[in-house]
């Protein structure tokens, strides 16, 4: 008998009187000790599935039909009070976003103790505070947090993302559940941290004999953490089978597309971007940026966000800057955009020294930027036309010319003209990012800074956006400065790559060189942490020793 057995589940949502069918005849099984993955893109219904199991569906959702068997009992027929008792005790969820999953005005220990206290109450157990704290310490050690007492006393804001993710796992393990439901764990974290977290989950599942339902859109993650895979699309399970079968011999077009959309890290499918061989458009010479925090009582603190960086971006190339959060890559981009002044050094774009201009006064026709999250970088109260109007207005176009250019821009980014009157909430993530790209193109810039333009998008959407960017580059002769932490994407999309660590460029070259023979241990660690989808790629990854990892990566365990 399977531990969890979902049969023909149908769930619908009602909003503003309109009913939407979000799950259609979903059937899924998780056996005792089995590791199962549920893959799907945004809005495919994978989270709704887990919420139905956990009984945390929002009020406007209703289960139309189907059964959810837990150890042979249909949960849907049981009263809420009884289902409540399963939460955290029989099945536990590992929350997705470690940064927002704690109430900022309560200590970490308070959260943990609360969960334990109420679980005890439901189970009819009585434990004193000291006893609970002892148990919490033990669980925190289990998730490899070296100093449990410090973690217990800490406020959420005092812990790193990786540490908070570990605490979230500890929360899930608190009452020795039989099954873990992991909802995109670690996706909000850096690759190296995500890698650590996934390994931890894997170890715990093996050691504690847990079952795992991994919910994710990242196929690399699936390969690391699951044996059996369900693929979901628009509320329907389109394909399921053992991991090997799905990855190596997918039956449906959708699966093939999904797998095909993932940029390969190594192997024959890797694409090498040609070098343009032109003189540099952007030149950075010994550029540094120091931020100073002024204090009244203590000495001022300084942070060297960028240290002594020298780069040349040839015209017409895609120059990638790789690095994790806090490596200084965004600061560097802001300086190139002229939004921040450099503390030292010289930035030259197209023969013009940026340092000659006051901050923010750079000619906008020189450089434009596309931000990471199109959901927040577009003003929700402005239509597409109004959004595009801003740069066109400053470019000095009159009304008729602006309208013409808007049509032209929409066509450029492969969107129909009538989208001009739409609001951002009427667009999908990929469409929004196209608008953001159109906005960057509006003033006819020479350089576009792409700040993780696809990290908020699904892989298949990412592929289409990347294809669009490639087309635009060759059609318009653009130069890109591409900031990302997605190394497999950079391998295929960039013609040049620089790796940043703590404000410094530690390695640069063509992707072919850097990936074939990464010199710096940090580069090796970064590449090794990328979740890939074939064994061949795993085997081709560089080797990095534990000692090197300790030296260059921020540990989330301390």
């Amino acid at each position: 008998m399977a531990l969890l057995d979902i049969r023909d589940l149908n769930v619908s949502f009602t909003s503003y009187g309109q009913r939407t069918h979000v799950l259609r005849d979903v059937s899924l099984k998780v056996g005792e000790g089995q590791r199962v993955a549920l893959i799907g893109e945004t809005g495919s219904g994978k989270s709704v599935t887990s919420k139905t199991v956990l009984n945390t569906l929002p009020g406007n959702a209703s289960v139309e039909s189907g059964q959810v068997f837990w150890r042979g009992t249909d949960l849907l027929t049981r009263p809420d009070r009884e289902r409540e008792k399963l939460k955290g005790i029989e099945m536990s969820v590992v929350m997705q976003d470690p940064l927002s999953s704690f109430n900022p005005v309560f200590t970490i220990g308070h959260h943990l103790d609360s969960v334990l206290y109420w679980a005890d109450r439901r189970a009819g157990r009585r434990r004193g505070r000291a006893e609970r704290t002892a148990h919490i310490r033990q669980v925190l050690r289990k998730v490899q947090l070296a100093d449990p007492d410090r973690v217990i006393a800490a406020w959420p804001a005092q812990l790193s993302g990786g540490m908070r993710q570990r605490v979230l796992i500890a929360l899930a393990l608190m009452n020795r559940p039989a099954m873990l439901i992991a909802d995109e764990p670690g996706t909000a974290l850096d690759v190296t941290t995500q890698d650590e977290i996934l390994r931890l989950i894997n170890d715990l599942v093996t050691e504690e004999g847990l079952s795992l339902l991994m919910i994710t859109h990242n196929l690399g993650v699936v390969r690391m953490t699951a044996d059996y895979v369900y693929v979901m699309r628009k509320g329907v399970i389109v394909e399921h089978g053992p991991l090997k079968q799905i990855f190596e011999a997918p039956q449906t077009d959708y699966c093939r597309e999904l797998i095909g959309a993932i940029p390969p890290l190594y192997g024959a499918a890797v694409k090498d971007q040609p070098l343009s061989g032109e003189p540099p458009l952007v030149k950075l010479e010994n550029v540094s940026k120091r931020f100073t925090r002024r204090h009244l009582l203590r000495r001022d603190e300084t942070v060297d966000a960028v240290r002594n960086v020298s780069l040349e971006v040839p015209r017409g190339e895609i120059f990638g800057i790789a690095g994790e959060s806090g490596s200084g890559k965004t600061t560097l981009a802001r300086m190139v955009m002229g939004m921040l002044g450099a503390t030292e050094g010289e930035i030259v774009i197209d023969g013009v020294r940026l340092t000659d201009h006051a901050e923010g006064r750079i000619d906008r026709r020189m450089a434009q930027i596309v931000y990471q999250n199109p959901g927040t970088s577009l003003n929700p109260k402005r239509t597409v036309a109004q959004t595009l109007d801003v740069p066109l207005h400053f470019a000095g176009l009159d009304k008729a010319a602006r309208a013409r250019r808007t049509d032209e821009l929409l066509e450029r980014v492969d969107l129909p003209r009538h989208f001009a009157s739409r609001y951002p909430h009427e667009l999908s993530g990929g469409q929004k990012q196209r608008i953001a790209i159109a906005r960057a193109l509006a003033a006819d810039p020479k350089l576009i800074v792409l700040d993780e333009p696809t990290s908020a998008l699904d892989v298949s959407v990412q592929k289409r956006v990347i294809t669009l960017l490639e087309e635009l580059r060759s059609d318009l002769g653009l130069t890109y400065l591409f900031i990302s932490h997605d190394l497999s994407l950079m391998r295929n999309f960039c013609s040049h790559i620089a790796v940043m660590l703590r404000g410094e460029v530690v390695e640069q070259g063509t992707p072919a060189e850097v990936f074939a023979d990464p010199r710096h241990p940090y580069t090796r660690a970064l590449i090794a942490a990328v979740p890939v989808i074939t064994d061949a790629e795993d085997a081709a990854k560089p080797v990095v020793t534990e000692a090197e990892k300790k030296r260059f990566l921020v540990s989330s365990a301390a």
């Binding site: 956990l54 945390t56 409540e84 008792k85 939460k87 955290g88 005790i89 536990s92 969820v93 929350m95 997705q96 976003d97 927002s100 999953s101 704690f102 109430n103 900022p104 005005v105 309560f106 959260h111 609360s114 969960v115 109420w118 679980a119 439901r122 406020w155 804001a157 005092q158 979230l168 929360l171 899930a172 608190m174 925090r293 002024r294 204090h295 009244l296 009582l297 203590r298 001022d300 603190e301």
Partner: protein, 348 residues
């Protein structure tokens, strides 16, 4: 240990910054008051001497009051006096302005503090209730009440309450701060409730509370409505956060999540408003003070304005400003205690 100090020093630095900022505010305020006092029509010397005085007498008075000195000299005289708590003498009564203010301030302060307490004690829980049952009948009713509360002017509420008391509560006191027959305890604060408690005089406390109830409620009503709505929207905003989902997913009961975890987080916004409310209350209390013959600082300020008693007006505005600053400082400390992020973030 070093860690604890680090955290504390960050917060102390934050407070130091605020105190410095407030000092600047007070300085600017003093400048504005001074400038204002010099541009309003009417000669203070003439005002002090009365209409029958001769031009020579007025001129002599001007000289005596220092009105013929250069403006910077006058300003620094005003400022150094203000720092020592000396605002000169009233042009009307001839008594030191500070003395009058000290006599009247406790009455208004007591009224305002009780009003603020009412706002918090009623506004926040009602807001929580509205958020918890949002879009239900409880919410609709509370929103309606808050709308009425916000729109009804305080003097109208005051008069209605007084009428109600006059018709239906025969023994209820209608005017003043305390029953006439009661001997005042005379304590350090001048606040009847606190002095009464300190002296162990429960009759004083009881009578003072009776007198306070209606004026404070009349004054608090609009604030209760505001704070309720603010709490409600903060709660609803926070209800959508992931951390609510976290606790719920692990089976922490809804009421604990709402009343404990969310309430603390959502009390920050209404608290911020309280600092501003305090200032406006000190200024606006006069309408209610008039209705209930309270004899407080606020109505004194109004009288001084009507009588063109410049020294008194300047003093009243200055003292209000000081209280505004103190109230906001207190609120900042309180929010710092609630929200660790404020303590952890040091410098700028």
């Amino acid at each position: 240990m070093g860690k604890v100090f680090f955290v504390a020093s960050g917060f102390i630095e934050f407070l130091l910054r605020r105190i410095l900022g407030f000092a600047v505010i007070l300085l600017v305020l003093s400048l504005m008051i001074f400038a204002l006092a010099r541009v309003v029509p009417g000669d203070p010397a003439r005002m002090a001497m009365g209409p029958s005085a001769s031009a020579e007498q007025v001129e002599a008075m001007r000289e005596q009051m220092g009105l013929n000195d250069p403006l910077p000299t006058q300003y620094f005289r005003f400022l150094s006096g203000a720092v020592r708590g000396d605002f000169g003498v009233s042009l009307i009564s001839g008594r030191p302005v500070t003395e009058q203010i000290l006599r009247l301030l406790p009455a208004t302060l007591e009224l305002v503090l009780v009003t603020l307490l009412l706002m918090m004690v009623l506004g926040v829980p009602l807001g929580v209730l509205a958020a918890r049952y949002r879009n239900g009948w409880v919410d609709t009713l509370l929103r309606l009440i808050s709308m009425v509360g916000v729109t009804m002017p305080a003097f109208l509420v005051a008069i209605l309450l007084q009428l109600f008391a006059a018709f239906y509560l025969s023994d209820w006191p209608l005017l003043g701060r305390i029953d006439r027959g009661i001997e005042l305890p005379g304590g350090p604060t001048g606040l009847l409730l606190i002095d009464g408690l300190l002296a162990g005089r429960l009759d004083v406390v009881r009578s003072a509370l009776q007198h306070l109830a209606f004026p404070a409620f009349a004054l608090a009503l609009s604030g209760i409505g505001q704070i309720m709505r603010l709490t409600r929207s903060a709660m609803i905003e926070n209800l959508r956060r992931d951390h609510v989902q976290t606790l719920r997913s692990f089976g922490v009961p809804d009421r604990v999540v709402t009343f404990r975890y969310l309430l603390k987080l959502s009390s920050i916004a209404p608290l911020t408003i309280m600092g501003l409310e305090f200032a406006s209350l000190i200024g606006n209390a006069f309408v209610v003070e008039m209705v209930f013959a309270w004899g407080g600082f606020a109505s004194h300020g109004l009288e001084s304005i009507m009588q063109n008693d410049l020294n008194a007006v300047m003093a009243v505005v200055m003292v209000s400003g000081i209280f505004f600053v103190l109230a906001n400082l207190a609120i900042d400390i309180l929010i710092g205690v609630i929200d660790p992020r404020l303590r952890l973030k040091e410098g700028r």
